[in-house]
């Protein structure tokens, strides 16, 4: 559980948008999605935590942006054994979903770590600040290109991709900043499937298979999947990931659009 849940979610969600510009039509301020994260072992499961994803407006002196917030909290029953309070935020452009600031603050069973990225698009760099629980702070510059996202913005960016024009087996790549390193994630479009979705009934969903070039976090190929509703909102409704010790499933429980 040291690798937190949101990393697993986010590495699922990638795409190559090098040649295409994103225009956000999938989400807006006020959207709130709730998920249940479960650990699976031989088809037996246990619910571990609740994950909420919220979109809100934020005003700066020159622009109005979206604050994309993802928070993971363990259920009360788990708090005495392994308490998780993770907060991930990305401040993005309302139309292009381009991130400006990313913040990650994790507290997993006493293991604490804070990461902050400040994007300098003109210089093509990200100023990354990493704070560890012993109080040590490191600053580093990471070179980025126009198509580099962070763990949160990538989750929202992929909701703006036109999957209807994709064919089964189409491969896509995207660069995601994970722990101040640019990782390349490969996504394979795996077609349409019908799923039972919380308070939406049966819905057709786009299935995407995700793999990391370096399998540090995820195990196997085509074993890690995400399903997005095949409508204009492309809501992530189910995520399944194989990790070195079992598998993780994240399913949607509440939708507020």
């Amino acid at each position: 559980m040291k690798k937190n849940l949101l990393i697993i979610i986010a590495v699922f969600i990638t795409h190559n948008i090098m040649a295409q510009k994103v225009t956000n039509t999938a989400f807006k301020s006020g959207e709130k999605l709730k998920f249940v994260a479960s650990y699976n072992m031989s088809s037996l499961w246990t619910d571990l935590a609740e994950i909420t994803m919220e979109v809100s407006d934020i005003k700066t002196s020159s622009q109005s942006l979206y604050r994309l917030k993802c928070a993971a909290t363990t259920y009360q029953a788990w708090d005495s054994y392994f308490k998780i309070r993770d907060l991930y935020e990305s401040y993005v452009d309302k139309i292009s979903v381009k991130p400006f600031v990313f913040k990650r603050s994790i507290d997993e069973g006493g293991y604490k770590k804070d990461i902050k990225y400040v994007y300098k698009w003109k210089s093509g760099i990200v100023n990354a600040t990493i704070k560890k629980r012993n109080g040590s702070e490191t600053n580093q510059e990471v070179k980025i290109t126009d198509d580099t996202y962070d763990l949160v913005s990538v989750l929202y960016m992929i909701r703006n991709i036109d999957y209807n024009s994709k064919r089964i087996g189409d491969l896509m790549n995207i660069k995601v900043l994970i722990d101040a390193n640019v990782e390349i994630v490969t996504v394979k479009y795996a077609g349409l499937e019908t799923l039972n979705v919380a308070n939406m009934g049966k819905k057709k969903c786009h299935k995407l298979s995700v793999s990391l070039k370096d399998d540090k976090i995820l195990k196997g190929k085509d074993l890690n999947n995400i399903w997005l509703t095949a409508d204009e909102n492309k809501i992530p409704v189910l995520i399944k990931a194989e990790i070195p010790v079992g598998s993780i499933q994240v399913r949607i429980s509440e939708i507020e659009l």
Binding site: V36, S38, M41, L44, W45, T46, D47, E50, I58, T60, S61, S62, Q63, L65, R67, K69, A71, T73, T74, Y75, Q76, A77, W78, D79, Y81, R85, L87, E89, Y91, F100, V101, K103, S105, K116, V118, Y119, K120, W121, K122, S123
Partner: protein, 132 residues
């Protein structure tokens, strides 16, 4: 004699499964904690049937069955009737609000850099339009 030893050994194994299952049934492990309890109940049941016609005392076997059954009941009760709830955590909520305030300075810095980029792009465009 040998049979008795074997049956006692297997019963102790069943008892261990039952105890582990009982302990796990109090943890929030969902259906996973059913695994040792079911193993204990299975072992207990098989030994019970095998020793039905023998003179071997079955107190231990009955304990295995009872403990495993109790563990299964507790597990099923927690899975079916205990609702998953997130505790109210004011500290975490405060942290989330505070985080927005802390981000404002960084946002200004990032947007300033973007404005520079837009300005330079605009001047390049105007140079294209007016080459002189």
């Amino acid at each position: 004699m040998q049979n008795k030893f074997l049956i006692t050994s297997i019963s102790i194994l069943g008892l261990l499964f039952g105890i582990v299952g009982l302990v796990m049934s109090f943890l929030p492990l969902g259906t996973i904690d059913l695994i040792p309890s079911i193993c204990g109940l299975f072992i207990g049941g098989v030994i019970f049937l095998l020793t039905k016609k023998s003179r071997i005392r079955r107190k231990l076997v009955l304990s295995v069955i009872f403990i495993s059954f109790l563990a299964i009941l507790i597990s099923l009760f927690t899975v079916l009737f205990m609702e998953n709830k997130v505790a109210e955590d004011l500290k975490f909520e405060e942290k989330q609000e505070q985080s927005v305030e802390e981000a404002s300075e960084d946002l200004e810095e990032a947007l300033e850099d973007l404005e520079d980029l837009e300005d330079s792009e605009d001047s390049e465009d105007s140079e294209d339009v007016n080459p002189e």
